[in-house]
Amino acid sequence: MRNPLSDKVLDIKPSGIRKFFDIVSEMKDAISLGVGEPDFDTPWHIREEGIYSLEKGRTFYTSNAGLKELKVEIARYLKRRCNLDYDYNHEIMVTVGGSEAIDLALWAMLNPGEEVLIPQPSYVSYLPCTQLADGVPVIINLKEENQFRLTKQEFLDHITDKTKVLILPFPNNPTGAVMTRADLEEIAQVIIEKDIFVISDEIYSELTYTGEDHVSIASLPGMFERTVLINGFSKAYAMTGWRLGYACAPRLLLDQMLKIHQFAIMCAPTTSQYAAVEALREGDEDVKQMRESYNQRRRYVVKRLRDMGLECFEPYGAFYVFPSIKGLGMSSEEFANQLLQEEKVAVVPGTAFGDCGEGFLRISYAYSLNELKLALDRIEAFVKRHMPEEKGE
């Protein structure tokens, strides 16, 4: 029999998270701080709208780009929150989670051999999706000393004449880093000068804790026509299982993304789309409350980690803390494995998000305060046991 498999697919490394997941799954009564999704249930009024749409028998396909009502609400939302003007009719499409949108954007933009700049540590799908779309991933290793933001110099250092796309994953999973308006302006200037495009993954845009609203790079002068903006409902409205996201881009790009979506997916789930309309119309207060709750827990986790002697830069976005364990003389994976064996607490090694995540852990604070306390007590015991004695005194 011939080999049924594609060389391209075989070349793709399986997700580092998957391996760790298998170990954790076998551990009975482990407590986890390893989840990348909200602990809240979807607010009831949103779920209720989904149920209602089922009762009404709205069980058919929607148009490929999504329900008109939903696209209109997305356009209004982006105007209200980011001062962006997208035409709902030609510049917005609804996707199966933000992850589909990432994939579509790469397919639509890349010719074989063109380079995609991927800042890491970052979400696990950018690199394999680039490879599948015949692009060449070029990793930019972000640094803790820059609070894991992308600096202009780092960006410039990786640009070649093959560079086509920059992925901009902020607010960032796993580091919690955010880019300020000033940071983005520097990046935007280079993008325009060097004639590059951006896929801006803003799925955590509602979860920032700087006191200032999220800034989308698409709203900066000259950037609208160069940006594919990706967002969704999973994080802000605690709707991960509904699988609903969206992409916004100039028509030139969006038409091609829509073409792929039309053949591969048809349309995003109809029930989820109806629920999402309600989320955008009536969900602002829910988001505000969840954000405040995350922010409180964020402060708690950062304080506890610092008090136990782990260096931890202040994360201002998403719901992750990314402490350094470099003082303990073990690798991220060793730390995560031993912590699991000895204290039955699961955290994700930073290396799951790129090689430069070595020496760090991703700790999610999408858990109740009591769960966080319990888990952090155990981490503290573990760190005390393994922290080398201070020299001298």
Partner: protein, 160 residues
Amino acid sequence: MREKILNVLEKNGRISVHDLAILLGEDEIEVANCIGDMERENVICGYHTLINWDATTEEKVTALIEVKVTPQRGMGFDKIAERIYKFSEVHAVYLMSGAFDFTVIIEGKTMRGVAQFVSDKLAPMEEVQSTATHFVLKKYKDHGTILVAESSDERMLITP
């Protein structure tokens, strides 16, 4: 800061001032002072425990009584309300808009006990015109907390 403190305390009265200060990113002493002020000003009126008595062996009945009254000259409703709320059986008293004047919530050991309170104490009051007593059969949700639900974390242990 007050509002933020209250929002946390309303859901978690047992949290320590130390932890509360961390959650809010505020100074511990300032938080303690602020709580002290609010206790003195009766903004914080107590720290109670939300108990689902149905889950215990203790027998309890709760009744909601609609009360119509004749307000007194110069005193309005406040004086009558006071005469009602001073009874220890009375759990809550609210002045209402609409078809009746007060909602009175009574907690007693037995239905007979509650009935006796209504017929002996409440109904005979001079200002009370009429009462309508409704017994609570089952409490599903109280003080914003769902009493009947079991919650479990159904998320996978590790996700990207």
